[in-house]
Symmetry: C2
Subunit: 376 residues, 2 copies
C-alpha cells in the first residue's frame, strides 16, 4: 500500500551519474534519507511501503546529469522544520554530485507552517510604499558607538530608507551593546520620522546564543523596533520560524545569508539558489530574504538571483509572497538594469554604495529614491 | 595602536588567487569579515586600528593557491559563539576559492567556553573502557515502533555497545513518539545492564524545534538517558554549547553531521574537515563528533578522517580531548585497518554493518567487540 504520490513531499535532486548507475544512485538517496540502511536489511513491510522514499521519476539532462524526483511520506518529517530539512537532504548532502533543485510540498505539510506574517503586501502597507521597490540599509561598521550608529540611523531615516537594519556583525560588542544600541537607534529613527512624517524602522540583529535569542527579540519589541534581523545559518531555520510565529512579537523578519554560502555556491552540491533562499526561507517565515546581488563582490549570476526572486513570489499554498532583498552590486548607475531583473517587487539592500556615494547619507538616500521612482 | 598579534583570533584561509591579486584578496576578507565596507570609506581611526582584520602572513602554496593568516580582535566576537562563526567566515563563505583551514584562539577566547564536559577521559570512566576503542550504534529504521526500537536497544546493550543512540532521523514521529521512545529505550537498556552488569546507555536525539529543544533535553535527563544526540547543522552550534554547559543536565553530547556536508566536502569552499568537525565541534562542547568514515558510502579520505581525529585531541587550552566518532565504512574485516588509522582513542559508530551482519544483534556486537579487543 503506501500513500498516493500527491500526498508526498516531493524533492527533485540533480544527480551527477552514469546511465548505468543512476537508478541505484536515486534509490540510495531514498534509503539514506529515511531508513539509512541497505535495502536488503529493511524487512518490515510497513517500513518498506511507507517510510522508504519513492522514486517518482528520473529525467536525463545533459550527459552525466539527471534530475530525480523522490517522494517522502510527510509522517517522516514529524511536523518539525528541523526534521523536514533532515529528511530532504540531511546525510545525502555529504555526498558530492548531488544537489536539491526543487521542492513541492503537499497542502497538509504547508498548512503546518504559518509562513511569512507580513509578506510583500503587509510590508507595503506598513511602509506606505504601494508599488515601488522598497529600500533597506545597514548600520556599520562594527566598532562604532551606539551614539554614532544611531546618528547614521537618523540620517538614513531622514532620507527615507524603509528598513534600517544592523550590519549582521553587530551583536553585543562592548563598542555598542545590544540594548543600548537598540534604544538609541529606535529613538533616533523616531525623531527623524517626527520631522519627516516618514515610517522608517529600525531592524536590530537578534542573532545570538541559543539562550539569548528570545530575550533579544522581546527587548527589541518592547523598545519599539520595527523588524528583526536573524541569520538562519548561525541559529538554524527553525529559530526564524519560531520568531515569525510569535503573535506577541509580530514584527517583520529579515533573514541574513551569513555562513550559508557553501550550501548554494557550488553547482554540484547543496541546494539550488531558488530552493535555499526562496522556498526554504519562505517556508520558515522570512518576510525579506537577503542574498548577495549579482554584479557585486559575490558570485551569484543574474539568473540565480532571478530564480530566488521568482521563488519568493511563486504559488505556494497559503504562503504570502516575500521580498527578495538583494544586497550589494547596486550602485546608482545600476537602477535601470536592476529594474529589468527584478521589476518593482523587490527590496534593495544598499549599504556600501550609500556610504561611499557621499558624506551626506540623507542626500544620497534621497537621490537614490528619486532614481528608483523615475525608473519605475 | 591596536592589539598585539598574540591576542588575536587567528584564522588561516586557503585562497585561490593569482600572485597579482592575493594581497587584495586577503585584505578583502579582513574588511568583509569586520567592517563590511570598502577601505576608503572607513575613516574612524579606532575602527581602522582595532576592528579591521589584520593580515598576519601570506604563504604561497602550489600555483594559484595561498594560505593567508588573518587576525581578528576578540572584541568583534562579543563572547558569543554565533558571532564568532560570523566573524571568522560569515559573508566570505559565500565566495568560491576560499576555505578556512586553521584556527588559533587566544586563551582569553578559549576561557570563555566551557568546552566538552566529559571528553575522552570522562567517557572512558563512565563506561569503564580504559583503553580500547569505544562503540556506538544507532536505533533504526524510522517507522519502527518504540517497542521495536527498545528491543533493538536491549539486544545491543546485551552485546555491550557503550552508547546506543537514536538514528538522527528519529525525532517525534507518530510511529515512535519522543517521550514514549525515550522511556522504553531507557528501560530496555537498564534491563540489559542488570542482566550483564554492563553500563550501556541510551542517547536520544534531542534535535527539534527551537522551542522544543530544552524540554526534550530535560525529559531525556529525568528519564535516565545517558547522553544526548544533537545536530548543529539543523539547530546551530550554539545550541550544542548551551546543552553542554547546563550543570543540571551534565550528559555526554554526541554531535551529528546532518546538513553540514557542503560546509566541508568541496576543496575550494567552506571549512576544512579538521576545523569543522574537530575544532568547531570541540569549541562548542561536543564529547563525540560523528562524521562519515572513509571507505564507506561518503567521500571523506583517510587523511581527512585522520585530520579530524587529530583535531579532536590536539592541544587546545583547557579543552578536553574528545572522541572522533567515524560512522560507516567499518565492517568486521576493517578492524585492523581502522586501528592503523585511529589507534585506540576512537569511538566507532556501527549501524548498518551490525544490522547487516546477522539477525542476532547481540552476537554480532560481541563478535565485533572481541575483534576490537584482539586488535588493540
Amino acid at each position: 500500500m503506501g500513500l498516493p504520490a500527491t500526498d508526498l513531499i516531493e524533492v527533485t535532486y540533480r544527480i551527477e551519474a552514469d546511465a548505468s548507475e543512476i537508478e541505484q544512485r536515486a534509490y540510495d538517496i531514498a534509503l539514506e534519507q529515511t531508513v539509512e540502511l541497505p535495502d536488503q536489511v529493511v524487512t518490515d513491510s510497513y517500513v518498506r511501503d511507507n517510510i522508504i522514499g519513492k522514486i517518482l521519476d528520473i529525467q536525463p539532462q545533459q550527459a552525466g546529469i539527471y534530475h530525480a524526483r523522490i517522494g517522502y511520506n510527510p509522517l517522516c518529517a514529524a511536523g518539525e522544520l528541523t526534521q523536514f530539512l533532515n529528511l530532504i537532504f540531511g546525510n545525502s548532502c555529504i555526498k558530492t554530485g548531488l544537489k536539491v533543485i526543487d521542492l513541492l510540498l503537499p497542502n497538509d505539510v504547508l498548512s503546518g507552517y504559518q509562513g511569512p506574517r507580513f509578506g510583500q503586501a503587509g510590508l507595503r502597507d506598513i511602509f506606505a510604499v504601494p508599488d515601488k521597490p522598497m529600500l533597506c540599509t545597514a548600520l556599520k561598521p562594527m566598532g562604532k558607538s551606539s551614539d554614532d550608529l544611531a546618528e547614521l540611523a537618523y540620517q538614513f531615516a531622514l532620507g527615507g530608507v524603509d528598513m534600517i537594519k544592523d550590519d549582521h556583525g553587530l551583536s553585543n560588542q562592548s563598542s555598542a551593546p545590544y540594548e543600548e544600541r537598540v534604544e538609541k537607534c529606535v529613538a533616533a529613527i523616531d525623531r527623524a520620522n517626527r520631522e519627516t512624517g516618514g515610517r522608517s524602522v529600525y531592524v536590530p540583529n537578534v542573532t545570538a546564543g541559543f539562550d539569548q535569542i528570545e530575550s533579544r527579540v522581546r527587548f527589541a519589541k518592547q523598545a519599539g523596533a520595527g523588524g528583526l534581523l536573524i541569520a538562519p545559518g548561525l541559529v538554524g531555520f527553525d529559530t526564524l520560524r519560531w520568531i515569525a510565529e510569535q503573535d506577541d512579537i509580530a514584527l517583520p523578519i529579515m533573514a541574513h545569508p551569513t555562513l550559508t554560502g557553501p550550501q548554494v555556491i557550488n553547482p554540484s552540491i547543496g541546494f539550488s539558489h531558488r530552493v535555499f533562499f526562496g522556498l526554504l526561507h519562505r517556508l520558515a517565515g522570512a518576510d525579506c530574504v537577503i542574498y548577495p546581488n549579482y554584479g557585486g563582490r559575490f558570485g551569484f549570476s543574474e539568473q540565480e538571483c532571478q530564480d530566488i526572486a521568482s521563488a519568493c513570489q511563486q504559488e505556494m499554498g497559503h504562503f504570502k509572497s516575500i521580498f527578495p532583498t538583494p544586497g550589494g552590486g547596486m550602485g546608482f548607475d545600476k537602477v535601470a538594469q536592476m529594474t529589468k531583473t527584478y521589476g518593482q517587487n523587490v527590496m534593495y539592500l544598499m549599504g556600501g554604495s550609500l556610504y561611499g556615494w557621499s558624506d551626506d547619507l540623507t542626500a544620497s538616500t534621497k537621490a537614490l529614491l528619486e532614481k528608483l521612482a523615475r525608473t519605475s
